[in-house]
């Protein structure tokens, strides 16, 4: 193969491979990336059923109920605008508690409740998931 042709082939191959993979991934991203919702967004935009979602807000006071099997629980997430009941099976993170920030990963059910597969809680005084910080701030401004 001539040098010029070789270079051209390689460049085309590289552009094709990277571009193709990226296009494919971007099209799939539309369906599969987990979007972030606050309870108020659900009221506003409707239920995103059948897709991975992150639900963020505060755990409402006196809302944590532990079920008989010892590993399941129910609680309510609120952002001051609306509330969403959440069901979760598993070990809650150490800093998961009432009146504290939480991000629940999972999906909505047709009745408007949320089934969480994973919970993220505020880590320490310095750390708050930026989404929660952002949403809380937004909600506060809206209420004023």
């Amino acid at each position: 193969m001539k040098a010029k042709h070789q270079r051209l082939t390689l460049v085309l191959l590289a552009i094709g491979a990277v571009g193709g993979a990226s296009l494919l991934a971007l099209s799939a991203l539309k369906d599969q990336a987990a979007f972030f919702y606050a309870p108020g967004d659900v009221k506003k935009d409707g239920l995103p059923i059948g897709r991975a979602v992150r639900l963020g807000g505060m755990v409402a006071d006196h809302s944590i109920q532990r079920l008989a099997d010892g590993v399941s629980m129910r609680f309510v997430v609120t952002d001051g605008v609306a509330t969403v009941p959440v069901a979760f099976k598993g070990i809650a993170p150490d800093l998961f508690r009432e009146k504290s920030g939480v991000v629940a990963e999972g999906s909505f059910n047709p009745d408007g409740s949320f089934t969480a597969t994973n919970l993220l809680a505020k880590h320490d005084e310095k750390y708050m998931p930026p989404e929660i910080a952002g949403k809380m701030h937004e909600t506060k401004t809206l209420q004023q």
Binding site: Q6, L10, A17, A25, A33, D124, E125, P130
Partner: protein
């Protein structure tokens, strides 16, 4: 006084970096042939001597700069060890009741300290280049040290103007805030420095590329000079990633070993780029091909390590590493990033035209296989970068989303498997040209092994998802293929770097097998148990014997006493997972307890009491999960053997040339 001395050392080091840059610039400019012609071909002796003096002075300046940076780092460690609370950084991140190991490691368990560690390693590595590098042409070496100084200057500016680690606080608090308990682990002493050495090693490879571009000296000699640094950086990145993965696995208590967390990706991206560079630099050194591509990869690898630093340090992404961050500093690093990457790409664009075409080769050849390797690595790198940054871009457009593990697994997994196939075939193909039929013939055994494993797994296992299934089958074929290059050779005369390649490729196969086994065969049990009630976790029976309070140096904990036995008549062994309470700062962490057997790990986590006398327990049986990190260690060992082999050969060649 110690803190002030540290700050002074930093300022001096910064000034020396500036001097190093200016001297190197002058030296390169004065010794370019173009200028020699412009000033008349007969240069005066005086001027030649001056040029030689300038060039000779760059090396010592680089050495002193490195020593000063190291001195500053040692002083920072000293104030941490002495718990000097009048230093703001110590007050914010340390506490006098911390064990000594974490006082020392705490020096880099925060933003300012970790940046100082970065620049210290950079300085020391620059000094090492100045002292050790003997084979490269003088002007190229000087240009390399100049580029190194330019990188260092940006980080000195960052430290001195926006992240001074030695700032005082007045009045000094009685005691400090303490270190994040998640970081109070031996992993902290090891993981960040290894990764930083890797990042910095890549910056040296990049400086070599810049040096070679400035002096238009891109060829096998440059590739041979650059290769040990790429290899060294790659070894440390491999170790850092492997250690970080195991640390996250046992510390976070989620039972996973890779979360596609942005910061994990930040360490993976430079590794991918460095892996590609490592293979392309071999083509350049051995066959004098892929010149421009190798330069480009050096630029990309450095950009990735800078983006990695940016992602970690700016706190722009949600991450388990989201402690020790400050968004306002992100803009400073972003500016540095733009200058470095932009400058490097500009230089590349200006000089790529003068890089001569290297040797050509056939599609079926070792070079061809290495190009496919580079291509696939680049595609993976592009996807990881895209997925990691996409949430930031989307946030800019007002959409908040996250891209999780399932998505990465789905897209990266198949490409990684394809890469595994190329990796099995590549070493069996000859340089320049080979016959496809003959190559296929050499692959008979591995292909047969993979096919056999596939059939056996489908027949016996059943219900394994296709990705782990193919992963495991490929791992078996790859393990066989990776040792094939030793087949029929005289083992004593086989060079050390060939063994290096074999061990590294075998390591990938072992690691792949571990990942596939973990995905396919893990058994998870989540229960609330009473004391004395036995539960099954895979082949084990686990019983909660009791819960006891225990006290550590700076924490108290509830500790579960678990007894476990394999089958009905296995020997009983004990596990003690804890729920730890730290007072400084107030935090609760789960400490998992792991029992390692030859064929896997039993992983236990203690949850909360449910109020009726039961305790939550999470138990995993993870067959062969340990292979993941064992494989990672093998890969690093392979890199080390390769490095040793290359250095030995280079030395032999130099000695031979000296006597010729």
């Amino acid at each position: 006084m110690i803190a002030e001395a540290g700050l002074a050392a930093l300022w001096f080091a910064a000034a020396l970096a500036l001097l190093q840059l200016v001297l190197a610039g002058l030296g390169v400019w004065r010794s370019t042939p173009v200028r020699a012609e412009a000033t008349g071909s007969a240069r005066s002796d005086e001027e030649t001597t001056l040029t030689a003096d300038i060039i000779a002075s760059v090396r010592p300046v680089a050495v002193v700069q490195g020593v000063l940076a190291l001195f500053a780092m040692l002083l920072l460690i000293t104030v941490f060890v002495r718990s000097d609370m009048s230093v703001l950084l110590v007050a914010e991140n340390s506490h006098s009741d911390k064990p000594m190991l974490y006082k020392i490691a705490g020096a880099w368990g925060n933003h300012e300290g970790s940046m100082l560690l970065w620049v210290t390693i950079l300085g020391v590595a620059g000094a090492a280049v100045a002292i050790l590098e003997r084979s490269l042409a003088k002007p190229t070496l000087i240009a390399t040290l100049g580029a190194q100084a330019a990188i260092a200057l940006g980080f000195y500016a960052f430290l001195l103007f926006s992240s001074n680690p030695f700032a005082r606080i007045d009045p000094a608090p009685a005691d400090g805030n303490g270190l994040n308990p998640l970081l109070q682990d031996p992993g902290l002493a090891f993981h960040p420095p290894t990764l930083y050495i890797g990042y910095v090693g890549i910056s040296i490879a990049f400086s070599f590329a810049v040096g070679a571009m400035i002096t238009r000296d891109v060829g096998p000699a440059f590739a041979r000079a650059m290769r040990p640094w790429v290899l060294g950086a790659w070894i440390f990145l491999t170790l850092g990633i492997t250690a970080g993965s195991y640390w996250a696995y046992y510390e976070l208590g989620w039972g996973g070993w890779w979360f596609w967390d942005p910061v994990e990706n930040a360490s993976l991206m430079p590794w991918l780029a460095a892996t590609a560079l490592l293979h392309s630099v071999s083509v350049l050194a051995t066959r004098d091909g892929l010149r421009a591509w190798t330069l480009m990869l050096a630029v990309v690898a450095f950009s990735m390590s800078m983006i990695g630093t940016f992602l970690v340090r700016s706190g722009i992404l949600t991450s388990v590493h989201a402690f020790a961050v400050d968004p306002t500093r992100g803009s400073f690093i972003l500016a540095l990033l733009a200058i470095y990457i932009g400058g490097a790409l500009l230089l590349f664009a200006l000089r790529v035209g003068t890089v001569k075409q290297g040797n050509t080769f056939d599609a079926v050849s070792r070079e061809g296989a290495l190009i496919v390797n580079n291509l696939l690595l680049s595609v993976i790198l592009a996807l990881v970068l895209l997925f990691t940054l996409y949430p930031i871009v989307a946030a800019g457009f007002g959409t908040q989303l996250s891209i999780g593990k399932p998505f990465f697994d789905k897209f990266i997994g198949p490409i990684a498997l394809a890469l595994g196939v190329v990796m099995a075939v590549g070493p069996m193909v000859r340089w320049r040209r080979d016959d496809p039929g003959v190559v296929l013939g050499r692959m008979t055994v591995p292909v047969a092994m993979t096919g056999f494993a596939l059939v056996a797994l489908v027949a016996l296992g059943g219900g394994i998802a296709w990705l782990p299934l193919f992963g495991l089958a490929l791992a078996i074929g790859l393990a066989v293929a990776s040792v094939l290059p030793l087949w029929g050779r005289n083992w004593r005369r086989t060079p050390l770097f060939t063994y290096g390649m074999v061990v590294a490729h075998l390591g990938i196969a072992v690691s792949l097998a571990g990942m596939a086994c973990d995905a396919a065969f893990t058994q998870e049990t989540l229960v609330a148990v009473r004391v004395g009630e036995p539960y099954r976790a895979g082949p084990f029976t686990v019983t909660l014997d009791g819960i006891k309070p225990v006290v550590g140096p700076n924490w108290s904990a509830l500790e579960a006493r678990l007894s476990a036995r394999r089958g009905a008549d296995g020997a009983v062994f004990y596990l003690r997972p804890q729920s730890r309470f730290f007072a400084n700062p107030v935090t609760v962490t789960s400490e998992s307890a792991i029992a390692t057997r030859w064929d896997g790990q039993l992983y236990t986590v203690l949850g909360e009491p449910d109020g009726t006398g039961r305790w939550q327990l999470r138990l995993w049986w993870k067959p062969f999960v340990t292979l993941i990190w064992f494989g990672g260690a093998l890969v690093a060992l392979g890199g080390a053997l390769s490095l040793l082999g290359r250095l030995r050969r280079e030395r032999r060649v130099r000695v031979r040339e000296a006597y010729a």
